[in-house]
């Protein structure tokens, strides 16, 4: 996954132009070992910034918020048996869901890779 082509939210989620989303490497590092992922249901209508799922690590619970509005059309079932994909490959095999965006212009309101790097202080 070319991370330079992704857009990033203040809650440390990434989203691609095709509507694929996940959490960033910074997020998975802060969270620690992910042991359980609560995925959204297929067909769920979602508004930008609302909760789309939950990540449970050994020590804490963390909400995942969708950076964009639309409908959930695909969820990553592999995360049920291998939640650690989020730690191992957060931009690849650790993708969480795919949204069919209702308003692609929302992507403009998100951060670029450079802006996100500055945001997390790298």
């Amino acid at each position: 996954m070319d991370t330079s082509k992704l857009r990033y939210s203040k809650d440390h989620e990434w989203v691609s132009e095709a509507g694929l989303l996940g959490v960033t490497d910074h997020a998975q590092s802060e969270l620690g070992d992910v042991v359980f992922v609560e995925l959204p249901k297929n067909g769920k209508e979602i508004k930008a910034l609302s909760e789309i799922g939950v990540l449970e690590s050994v020590k804490a619970v963390s909400n995942v918020y969708s950076p964009v509005s639309g409908t959930v059309v695909e969820i990553n079932q592999e995360l049920s048996s291998s939640p650690d994909l989020i730690n191992k490959d957060p931009y690849g095999k650790g993708w969480i869901a795919r949204i069919k965006m209702s308003d692609p212009s929302e992507l403009n309101g998100l951060m670029s890779e450079e802006e996100y790097s500055k945001f997390i202080g790298r």
């Binding site: 620690g32 070992d33 042991v35 359980f36 609560e38 939950v54 449970e56 050994v58 020590k59 619970v61």
Partner: protein, 351 residues
Amino acid sequence: MPQKTPLYDLHLAAGSKIVDFAGWLLPVQYKSIIEEHKAVRAKAGVFDIGHMGQIISKDTDALQYLTANDVSTLDVFRGQYSFMCNEKGGVIDDLIIYRMEDSYFVVANAVNAHSVFSRISKKDRDAKLLYQEMTAIALQGPDSFALMKNLSKGDLSELKHRQIKRTSVSGRDCLISRSGYSGEDGFEIFLKNKDCPFVWSEIVKNGAIPCGLGSRDTLRIEAGLPLYGHEIDEDTTPFEAGYIKTVKMEKTKFSGKEALLRQQKDGLPKHLIGFEVIGKAIPRQGYKIFEGDKESGYVTSGTFSPCLDRPIGMGYIQGPLAEQGELSVEVRGNRHAIREVRLPFYRRKPL
């Protein structure tokens, strides 16, 4: 202003994630809580426990009144688990008390060190709290014995559980006790602040994995051990937490005795259980426990158990008896069935 142990710079240099725990800056993990947890169960891990309170007192009467176990039963260089209780029988702190040649050595939780010391020193003006000079580290895991044998002076094989001795590690004087908080064989090493970075580095060089508070917590939950502020607190008695024999009711007088006598007569208002979740939801402190449809308790600790590969937890159920009806825990608005498990969840293989 959070405090630092002598190992702070080493933890930082190792790239660990530092958190404020009970007013002390300590690593929560180095690389991965699960990796550190498994290393302790399979080989050996080393923990910075410099935040814990170390107190010296020579006043037997003070300790007999202030604590619920019986220090007069201790042979020299032996330790006992104990509780300091308030007048309601609630726990002010859980402690290990060692009898030394001419004093008692009391190890208290960081969060309660000052209140424990304050109670002791009100009765014993000569009592000392040792943070300025002393710190501690814990080496835990099946390989601990071989590792310590390499680095320490003298014969360790006769050191029994909670037995303590004066020796040296890598040439630096220390006290070591065969004890720990992980459910594995291991040693707690009490040593001078200035010697700690060197001794820690030697232990790591000899094969122990540095471990943080995250794995310390998952290990003790698997071992069914209580953590202050979770399974025990000022509103919970040792009896409710399942510690019946630790309290020596035959002692004439000790803080909390009347309240504990009443509990013996009237029955327990709540009792601690261990449980595993049927499914994948992870129980966390404060989540509600239900018997059937009735809210009947709360979770005190919970995590995903790396060894059992499932979510486990401990919590209180109201009343003294085993529960009636199906138990469940509420996680984010949904109820998940749980099954009671007799503690500990994990028992190490015999040495």
